[in-house]
């Protein structure tokens, strides 16, 4: 069975630090650090720092309200565990994407983004030119669906049919020879 594909959570910007470590008292240095995901950090920030309601925050992160509440409750459990057991806290990972702004250089015509949003870009990373313009903000994951349109083909007899969104090619059988279908590789 295919694993459920998690919907990507949107982050406004990555956290400024990579984690926390405890000090004073009896610290068990060998204890495994707690891994707080980026989306969990963002949930805590939106809810308790920006003081949004769960519904408003879920819209910000582009997930449903129940999903947001699940992320948030997992954050609180992890933070409580780290505080009570005196464990280190790492902030990393998670299924996230950022609101990336894309720039285009006027000299070499290359397009680039800025993954470290706290540091503004002054020069083109390729040719060092200072002439570049913003060409757009990254597409929302809704557009991912258009990526799934294509052609299913049978690897055995070569039968082709248009791909149906929502039913993976690899779970379908060829109507001619009953072999498992495949996605036809794109030509380029």
């Amino acid at each position: 069975m295919n694993r459920r594909r998690k919907c990507l959570r949107k982050l406004l910007e990555p956290p400024k630090i990579k984690g926390f470590s405890p000090f004073g008292g009896e610290i068990n240095e060998n204890a495994e650090p707690i891994n707080l995901l980026f989306e969990e950090y963002e949930a805590l920030k939106l809810c308790d720092y920006d003081l949004l309601t769960h519904f408003q925050a879920s819209v910000e992160m582009n997930v449903s309200r129940p999903t947001f509440t699940r992320i948030y409750s997992s954050t609180r459990k992890k933070l409580a565990k780290a505080f009570v057991e005196g464990r280190r806290l790492n902030i990393e990972g998670g299924k996230v994407y950022f609101d990336t702004i894309w720039y285009q250089c006027g000299t070499c015509h290359s397009q680039f983004n800025n993954p470290k949003m706290e540091i503004p870009i002054n020069n083109c990373p390729l040719c060092n030119s200072q002439q570049f313009v913003i060409v757009g903000v990254d597409a929302k994951p809704d557009d991912v669906k258009s990526d799934t349109a294509g052609i299913c083909m049978c690897p055995k007899c070569g039968f082709e049919q248009p791909h149906e969104i929502g039913s993976p090619c690899m779970e379908r059988n060829c109507p001619k020879c009953n072999a498992l279908m495949r996605r036809k590789p794109r030509e380029n």
Binding site: S110, D147, R183
Partner: protein, 106 residues
Amino acid sequence: MRVAITSTGNNLDSTLDPRFGRCAFFVIYDTDTKAIEFIPNPNKEATEGAGPASVQLVAAKDVSKIISGEFGMKIKSLLDSLQIQMIAIKEPDKTINAIIAMLETK
């Protein structure tokens, strides 16, 4: 700082590969030591998941920029969380030599 460039061949005169996940070779260029390394891409013929596998390959080399022709949806979010900069060149006939020369212009 290390930069990954996708290449169609394993010499400096080969051109940029417009695809990221299924490019023929990765060129790892170190801007400090000027070292150039060619890595054949094991995911060239992969039917699925070539992009994320290739990201893992280049992220293990500790690069901070990737130069290619295009980046797919699966890798964009991955590279965002790894904080690797994407540079897309829309001129596919540029050679690796020319790109490295551009990186060196100050």
